[in-house]
């Protein structure tokens, strides 16, 4: 990205982009599709436009929502030992800590981290991006919705949960026989979709398109 040199160029602040990580100023120039504009001091990705990003984001967000509903209530894993068996869904996993005491808080947290927050983020992204994709004005409170979605990003832990599954399966492997339910595969697919969705979103592009100034009424 080009450096900001003279004071004359600072008159139009809309063309200036400051790296959120190191405060370096750049002149905002949107790179070609598929290219990335990075901060020249710290390498942070500033702008990364993708072809058809909004439509694809919508498709993926819908996929996440539908898969998550399925993955939550279908049997996730089942275990058999000595003629006894127990099937558990993702919902049961989240409720594993419910004992009426302080552990219940942990259940709520686990449910939020692996199910509620990923779904909520998908819905928020749908709400924000859908009008932009069809060139309409953003819906009311779209900026607040996108802010919330961004704040929740580190707390969406579906992909960590999948690695947790792998570890749990090995641990339980010599105690009992474990079978995979349909929800297990749904959840595995879900993680791939969430990661794809993350790589599509260029935050700066969305913020620019949400800006009321850029939308002649």
């Amino acid at each position: 990205m080009a450096a900001v040199s003279g004071d004359a160029r600072l008159t139009d602040l809309e063309d200036i982009i400051a790296c959120p990580q190191c405060d370096t100023l750049h002149v905002a120039r949107i790179p070609a599709l598929g290219q990335r504009a990075i901060c020249r001091r710290c390498g942070y990705v500033l702008i990364a436009p993708r072809r058809g990003a909004y439509l694809r984001t919508i498709a993926l967000a819908l996929t996440v929502t539908i898969l998550m509903i399925g993955a939550t209530f279908f049997p996730f894993l089942d275990v058999r030992v000595a003629g006894m068996s127990n099937a558990s869904s993702l919902f049961d996993t989240a409720l594993a800590f419910v004992d009426g005491g302080i552990m219940t808080a942990l259940s709520v947290a686990v449910a939020a981290l692996i199910v509620l927050i990923p779904v909520l983020r998908s819905l928020l992204v749908l709400y924000v991006v859908a009008p932009l994709a069809i060139d309409r004005a953003p819906l009311p409170q779209a900026a607040a919705a996108f802010r919330l979605s961004e704040n929740l990003r580190p707390w969406s832990m579906a992909e960590i949960f999948v690695i947790g599954c792998a570890v749990a399966l090995v641990k339980v492997g010599d105690l009992a026989r474990v079978g995979y339910g349909p929800a297990f595969w749904m959840f595995a697919a879900l993680v791939v979709v969430i990661l794809l969705q993350e790589s599509l979103i260029s935050r700066w592009m969305i913020w620019r398109d949400l800006d009321p100034k850029n939308r002649p009424a």
Partner: protein
Amino acid sequence: MTAPIRTARESGLVACTRCARVWPMGTAECARCGSALQSRDTRSLQRVWAWLIVGFMCYIPANLFPMLKTRVLFTETDATIVGGAVELIHHGALGIALVILVASVGIPIGKFVAIAYLALTISRPAALSSHRRHKLYELVEFIGRWSMIDVFVVAILSALVQLSVVASINPGPAAITFALSVIFTMLAAQSFDPRMIWDSGSERAR
């Protein structure tokens, strides 16, 4: 690439850390995304230390108390985080034991040290360059969430292995303190304003 680096602060501007828009110094709220604007988050370090200390306090009981209570027929065994990993090594599952040890011991301790180092070197001369310290910060931000893995393992096992008298697995008290420790250190990393890393670097260069 030869043009000198100019920061928003040096140009009398304040940058929005969320949407990267710049405004004249003194603007209180970003009109594009609605975030509160601050040229440098001056109380950032206080919050970092507070969260870090609470996180560390939660990490101690997380290692002392059992994480998992396994009951097979009539024998009940409690396993701490490290104890569980040692058990896995005895079973020959070296790879999985390594994952647990890295995620539950290596990453948390590394994170305490790294965040403390970053916070200390804001006001003191640092052995590492700003670039190195910024890489360290990115690593801490990226990797911190992965410590949650052990909590999820406990949740899966406790939900799955409930076979009345034959075998059952239940969570121990360490599960909750460990989860809290991970959450608090994530908050510590998020409170840190990485722009200060670069400020201290450029001040010494002059």
